[in-house]
């Protein structure tokens, strides 16, 4: 087999010339597992931190679902955990707002951005493009540690006397700009901003690294149109992050000045407790524009890695080439581009000029086209495939299902006239939890089950995996489907209590049902947690290529060491989707097999 002649040492040291690290074989524990610069270790650090955050985020939502489902119940039994946030057996309303804010922040940023991209971009980019490591291992390590610091700050903000930030994950001013506005607007908000600033630094360090690695470190023969779709997705995710997170940084820097130095960027003519503030001339809508300029690309930052992971897993397990490889790349590009010009669909009801609203409505609805292209391509790939129902495959199919269900309501919300009715109701909550929250989680689960053997050298337990899948899949639909219904009826989101509205008392049962389903679905995740930890030590030993897949990571040893390939890096000759190629011996031909070895299956254009 032909291969490139780059030797292990030359390349590794080339990547690390900024600092001295000579002996890779005999590293101290601290440098091997904690301050590691190996992309695989950093990926696991992101994954494990992400999982911890996910359970915290889930626990927070279970608490506020308790409040929504059983508004009359007393929660004294939670007092040992929540302390004085339980007042006379009742959840404090201020803390309720803190809970929803932290839940959203944690899930969107800490789990589905850092946990998802951080894990899979780090793990898969070097392995799938055929590189020894990231372009800069050092910056990559810094990226994790900035994330870690950010996590610490956010975590401790939950234990403040005045509570964590409570203005919602979108932290709209004036709530977030006036420390006296509500308890969570004080120190909690400050810590939220600090955590987010650190988070943005982490994202930029990571993103810049991913992009440069993909541009410069692809192995011989790995052209852009031979890249697995995962890599395309990670590339575009990183580009979105590098271009949109700085705007959030700008937004929060201005916010800091409003909060602490008396400026009026977002403030104008406000009364707090009957007293007029001196601020004039600013605009809270300005913040919304800046926030959503990040915020909308951010939702795609969350979902694009899922797109990539799912495309890869569906092709592998349907034993068919992905349908419309180039259309998949094209739609990724289209979605990424459009994601920068639709942000104001979150602001239809904010007092923005309605003409501007209709422009954004038009642009928003165009996104449905590339999204539909992707969905049809996944379905076409499944169509008449030789489907192997592995656990990752089930999660991938679940992803497609959830993405469709949630995407359809996006088209309703994207109409500025319809949005007047459903804005800020549970309809929106249902939309984005299906299309973003659940889908991205399914993408993440699919990825973890699929690449676990490469990460830990063992397989996860299948039976537990199936139970986990079905409980989660059914659970998620049971939680979010009824929310559409209450949302259309006008049930507002972020309300601590609805019992004083007679209109909504008929929804008591449905709320109880949703809460029950949510808590069961959350508990089902402990099956995953158990499986994840147990399999690390007791799982079935993995083979080198357990899914009979084509991409380069499966050409490494079962437990790849530092530098990934013990010998030279394999060169690449073909695209990654040669599954069930007519005339071939096996139903898969890995990317590193030259055409000279597959004469029986070569097509006319392969011979060029």
């Amino acid at each position: 087999m032909a291969s490139t002649d780059i030797s292990l040492h030359k390349d590794v040291h080339h990547d690390h010339d900024a600092h001295d690290e000579h002996d890779h074989h005999d590293q101290h524990f601290i440098f091997k597992y904690i301050f590691s610069q190996d992309h695989k270790v950093i990926a696991k650090q992101f994954l494990i931190t992400g999982i911890i955050w996910a359970f915290i985020g889930g626990a927070l939502s279970s608490i506020f679902r308790l409040q929504l489902g059983w508004p009359q119940a007393t929660m004294e039994w939670l007092e040992p955990v929540l302390g004085k946030w339980i007042e006379g057996g009742k959840l404090s309303p201020d803390f309720y707002l803190g809970l929803v804010t932290m839940h959203g922040t944690i899930m969107v940023f800490f789990v589905l951005t850092a946990g998802l991209s951080g894990t899979f971009s780090n793990f898969l980019i070097p392995l799938q493009i055929g590189a020894r490591d990231m372009a800069s291992g050092f910056l990559n390590m810094l990226s994790y540690w900035f994330f870690f610091l950010s996590s610490i700050v956010l975590f401790f903000s939950m234990f403040l006397e005045t509570g964590p930030a409570s203005a919602g994950w979108t932290i709209y001013p004036p709530l977030s700009a006036l420390p006296q506005a509500m308890p969570g607007s004080g120190a909690g908000m400050t810590m939220w901003i600090v955590a987010m600033a650190l988070f943005i630094v982490s994202q930029l360090l990571g993103g810049i690294n991913y992009i440069t690695t993909i541009i410069n470190l692809r192995t011989k023969g790995m052209s852009m149109t031979k890249l697995p779709l995962t890599i395309w997705a990670f590339l575009l995710t990183a580009i979105l992050g590098v271009l949109s997170f700085p705007v959030l940084l700008s937004a929060v820097l201005l916010l800091i000045f409003d909060r602490s130095f008396g400026t009026s960027f977002y403030l104008s003519e406000i009364y707090v407790a009957g007293e007029a503030l001196a601020n004039v001339g600013g605009s809270p809508i300005l913040f919304q524009h800046l926030f959503w300029f990040l915020g909308h690309p951010e939702v795609y930052i969350v979902i694009l890695p899922g797109f990539g992971i799912v495309s890869e897993i569906i092709a592998t397990n349907a034993r068919k080439p992905i349908f419309g490889y180039r259309a998949m790349i094209g739609s990724l590009l289209g979605i990424s581009l459009l994601s920068f010009v639709v942000w104001a669909h979150h602001m239809f009801v904010s007092g923005m000029n309605p003409f501007l609203g209709s422009v954004f409505m038009f642009l928003t609805l165009i996104i449905a086209v590339p999204s539909a292209v992707k969905v049809f391509n996944w379905i076409a790939t499944l169509w008449r495939g030789n489907i192997v129902f592995t656990v990752p495959m089930l999660f991938s199919i679940g992803f497609v299902s959830l993405f469709i269900s949630g995407g359809l309501t996006g088209i309703i919300l994207g109409n500025s006239a319809l949005d007047i009715q459903v804005h800020n109701t549970y309809f929106v909550v249902a939309h984005f939890h299906l299309v973003m929250g659940s889908s991205a989680f399914f993408g993440m689960f699919a990825g973890v089950y699929h690449w676990y053997p490469k990460m830990f050298g063992r397989m996860m337990d299948e039976k537990l995996g199936y139970v986990h899948f079905w409980l989660t899949f059914i659970g998620v639909y049971m939680v979010f489907m009824p929310m559409h219904y209450v949302g259309i009826a006008g049930f507002p989101r972020r309300y601590y209590s609805w019992t004083s509205f007679d209109l909504f008392s008929s929804f008591a049962n449905i709320n109880m049902y949703i809460s029950l389903a949510a808590i069961i679905a959350w508990l089902a995740q402990f099956i995953f947690l158990f499986n994840f930890v147990y399999s690390m030590f007791r799982g079935r030993k993995a083979t080198a290529n357990p899914w009979r897949s084509n991409t380069l990571e499966w050409t490494t040893p079962v437990n790849p060491g530092h530098g990934n390939w013990p010998g030279p890096i394999p060169a690449v000759y073909r695209w990654p989707y040669d599954y069930s190629k007519p005339g071939a011996e096996d139903d898969f031909i890995p990317q590193n097999v030259p055409f000279s070895q597959t004469q029986s299956s070569n097509l006319p254009h392969d011979k060029e």
């Binding site: 032909a2 490139t4 493009i129 055929g130 372009a135 800069s136 910056l139 930029l204 993103g207 810049i208 690294n209 992009i211 440069t212 690695t213 541009i215 410069n216 470190l217 692809r218 192995t219 011989k220 023969g221 790995m222 052209s223 852009m224 590098v242 271009l243 949109s244 997170f245 700085p246 705007v247 940084l249 700008s250 937004a251 820097l253 201005l254 000045f257 130095f261 008396g262 400026t263 009026s264 960027f265 001196a278 004039v280 001339g281 600013g282 605009s283 300005l286 524009h289 800046l290 300029f293 060169a571 690449v572 000759y573 030259p594 055409f595 000279s596 070569n602 011979k607 060029e608």
Partner: protein, 248 residues
């Protein structure tokens, strides 16, 4: 060539992997992408400037009759018309023009430093880095003067509702016009100044490293080139800040 050999070799085009398709090392690419992201940070601030200015009334009278008032956005020539040593003389935008010239000059000397690096000429790199540091610091010093003048204010100041007079500007009050004019001035020029300051620190590190001969031993001055990219970017941003604040 027979078919088997072509089928045996991976492709070798520009984007076929195993090379640097943009002819730039990973370090340089990283600097480019960082600058791209920083462009968005500044872009957000300048958009903020535009939107907030749009929310305020423009002055409609003639330039001769212009007086400072919180009712409308001031004419920049009337605010920035002082020059050190020429107290009371109306020299619209003269000082900021000088500052801008100095910064552009520092970009020129930076180009010369990078060029000297390509020739592996240690002495020239040192010389031009030093000039760049000097010009950069002068720019910062000028900005400090501009700020202190803005903060101190004019001789007449602004009449407050309680009959006292307020001179100059801070983040909550502004004798030249709406308070947001001062807020944005301090914030955006301050943010830019912070970038210049970081640039000077980086340049000083480059200077020391050059003097120590580290780059000479390494055989290339790419690090200087990367910092050079940053420096040019910061200059370019100033041109935009200057245009927004002083010209339109």
């Amino acid at each position: 060539m027979s078919t088997t050999t072509t089928l045996e070799q991976p492709k070798t085009g520009t984007w076929d992997g195993g090379n640097e398709p943009m002819k730039a090392s990973y370090g340089k690419l990283m600097m480019w992408f960082f600058l791209l992201s920083d462009t968005f940070t500044f872009g957000a601030f300048l958009t903020t400037y535009g939107l907030i200015r749009h929310r305020h009334n423009a002055y409609t009278g003639t330039a001769e009759d212009f007086t400072f008032s919180t009712a409308y956005w001031p004419i920049p020539e009337k605010v920035f018309n002082a020059f050190p040593g020429f107290h009371g003389v109306d020299l619209p935008l003269a000082f900021v023009a000088l500052m801008t010239m100095i910064l552009i000059l520092s970009s020129v000397t930076m180009v010369l430093a990078v060029e000297a690096g390509h020739r592996i000429d240690k002495n020239d790199v040192q010389k031009w880095l030093l000039w760049t540091i000097l010009f950069g610091s002068t720019f910062l010093a000028c900005q400090a003067w501009e700020w202190s003048h803005f903060i101190t204010g004019s001789d007449q100041g602004m009449l407050m509702p309680d009959g006292t007079r307020f001179f100059g500007a801070n983040l909550a009050q502004n004798e030249y016009g709406p308070v947001l004019f001062a807020d944005l001035f301090f914030f955006i020029t301050g943010f830019h100044g912070t970038h210049v300051f970081s640039g000077i620190v980086l340049l000083i590190i480059m200077f020391i490293t050059t003097v120590n001969g580290t780059f000479q031993r390494r055989g290339h001055y790419e690090m200087v080139e990367k910092i050079g990219l940053y420096w040019h970017f910061v200059d370019l941003v100033w041109v935009f800040v200057f245009t927004f604040f002083y010209l339109v």
